[in-house]
Amino acid sequence: MTQKNSISLESVDTRSWFSRNMAAIIRHGIINLFMIIIILPLAWVLIMSIKSRPDAMRGDFWPRNFDFTTYAYVFQKIETLPINLWNSIYVTAGTVFLTTICAVMAGYTLVHMRPRGGGIVVTALLVSLYFPTRVVSIISIYEIQHSLGLINSTVGLILPYVTLNLAISILIMRSVFQLVPHEVIEAAKVDGAGPWRTLLTIALPMARNGIVVIFIVNFVTAWGEFLLCSTLTNDQEARTMPVVLAGAQGGLGQWTWPNLAAVYIIVVTPGIFAFALAQKLFFKGLAEGIVKG
């Protein structure tokens, strides 16, 4: 009798532990499954970049020997690599710089200077978001670049790149500047500050989070742009790093798998780092930008 009781008590205890935690176990299990699916492909590339060559041929996930020299090797052996990386860097920097300036000025003006016809501008920007402009306009962008003598020119890519996210960037800055009280701008003006000084010293610091958002959005787009770059340039020397990687056939010659993987890690790291650093500001800015948009 006593024995029976203790057993049933035990079983009640076990069952309640499970019923209390079963939902949490399943929940964490499913979430972690998703996390693994997200991380596995990236982990594969990272490990591939430090595999020894025989291990890369064998194809097992975890190598028997590591070889960290691949990172130095790719810079010595792949001649266009530094050029392509440099192309990526200055095209992206130019694009981000110009788009940010355009978006900040336009967003500020549309909110706090209330230009006549501002409504038309906002409508035009909104409409452009719903039209596959990027795909269709490639035909006449080629023509424009040709007439400007910018076919096969890397710097020339900056011009069409700026417009890739221009509309959304302006709209984000517009909703961020809407959070800056108009009275503050008014007060600055009464104190004798001109429109430039008001923008730079009063409004801009208050719009910092929004600038982080458009900075990251434009960085990611410009850094990984494919269609315009592969259409408007012909030579490998004129192209950006991701476009060269997209054309590389894996496994042969200078593009053995560890080489490809090492270049990939080099190219993908700056974005992840930039995001990790600005992560907190990014989430804040995203919230501000979405409030109105």
Partner: protein
């Protein structure tokens, strides 16, 4: 008030003053819009109008012949071409494959993560989720091109060497224009957008007050009823925005198809965007007039569906 200032209030006051002062005030304001408008008009608005005009001509890029106005001939030719219909259908097929996964999976994941009370775990999950979102597009495609590689890709390595489910001969051919190509690309797109969309839904879930579910629970509602009657209706606006945006991006995919499929007309990746690109930059003398017509047909068809979706959602919500 004697200065015609650039502020809106003063501009309104200036409206009663002289025409000259009004123009000066407008000009000062519009100076700030010039950089943005120069890019927007030069590389976005003008190209679209130019493409519309080209689509009504027999313009071929590689000839010196002047373009002639031929009315709706390009449109008539394109619409009577079976290939255009096939290519439009392929884009629709891809959208059907892609849309459910890119909405439902993030929704489930967001609901699960929203209940994590451990702040450290919650932050780790969120950061991992956003890693794919900060990988630039082309690098995502390159990564998955390697994943799907027939001989040395890790997916087939797993299926053949690790699990032995397939032999080297009948291992799945993911890319290269097989029937598996569109699902494979759709899976990649879902992977890419998973974190970003989940974060969207999490923002929506955070906005739902905690008292409402509590009250419902006291009234005896079960988990499923609470999801169906409380959570889902409040997430609807976010879902609708995602559906419309993702529909637009899925119908107009081009980079992925260029990288994974190329210009093989039998490949399921040969959609209207690739057909347009092929005509404009690859075939013959670059018949850009015809290509422009194809681009316009695809875009307008797509926009009509998007407007329809917005209408439906607006009447529902």
């Amino acid at each position: 008030m004697s200065y015609s200032n650039t502020d809106g209030f003063d501009a309104r006051a200036a409206r009663s003053s002289t025409l000259w002062e009004r123009m000066r005030s407008d000009a000062r304001t519009w100076v700030f819009l010039v950089p943005a408008l120069a890019f927007f008009i030069g590389y976005q608005a003008y190209p679209i109008f130019r493409v519309v005009w080209i689509s009504f001509t027999d313009y071929q890029y590689l000839t010196n012949q002047p373009a002639n106005w031929i009315g709706f001939n390009n449109y008539a030719n394109a619409l009577s071409d079976q290939l255009l219909w096939t290519s439009l259908w392929r884009a629709v097929l891809f959208t059907i494959l892609f849309l459910p996964g890119c909405i439902i999976l993030p929704l489930i994941l967001a609901i699960l993560i929203d209940r994590i009370r451990n702040p450290i775990l919650a932050t780790i999950y969120r950061v991992v989720l956003l890693i794919p979102a900060v990988i630039p597009s082309t690098l995502v495609f390159v990564l998955w091109k390697w994943m799907y590689n027939f001989q040395s890709g890790p997916i087939n390595h797993f299926l053949v060497k690790t699990t032995g489910l397939f032999s080297l001969q009948d291992a799945p051919q993911w890319l290269g224009g097989t029937a598996l190509t569109l699902p494979a690309i759709a899976a990649m797109e879902v992977w890419w957008g998973l974190g970003y969309h989940t974060i969207f839904f999490l923002a929506g879930l955070a906005a739902i007050s905690k008292e409402l579910p509590e009250a419902a629970r006291i009234d005896g509602a079960n988990e499923w009823q609470m999801f169906w009657h409380i959570t889902l209706p409040r997430l609807m606006p976010i879902m609708m925005i995602l559906v419309v945006l993702r529909f637009g991006s899925a119908m107009a995919v081009i980079d992925e198809y260029l990288i994974f499929g190329g210009f093989n007309r039998d490949s399921p990746t040969y959609t209207w965007t690739i057909l347009m690109y092929d005509q404009a930059f690859k075939l013959g003398l670059w018949r850009q007039g015809y290509a422009a017509a194809i681009g316009m047909i695809g875009s307008v068809a797509m926009m009509l569906v998007m407007i329809l979706l917005l209408r439906i959602f607006r009447t529902k919500g």
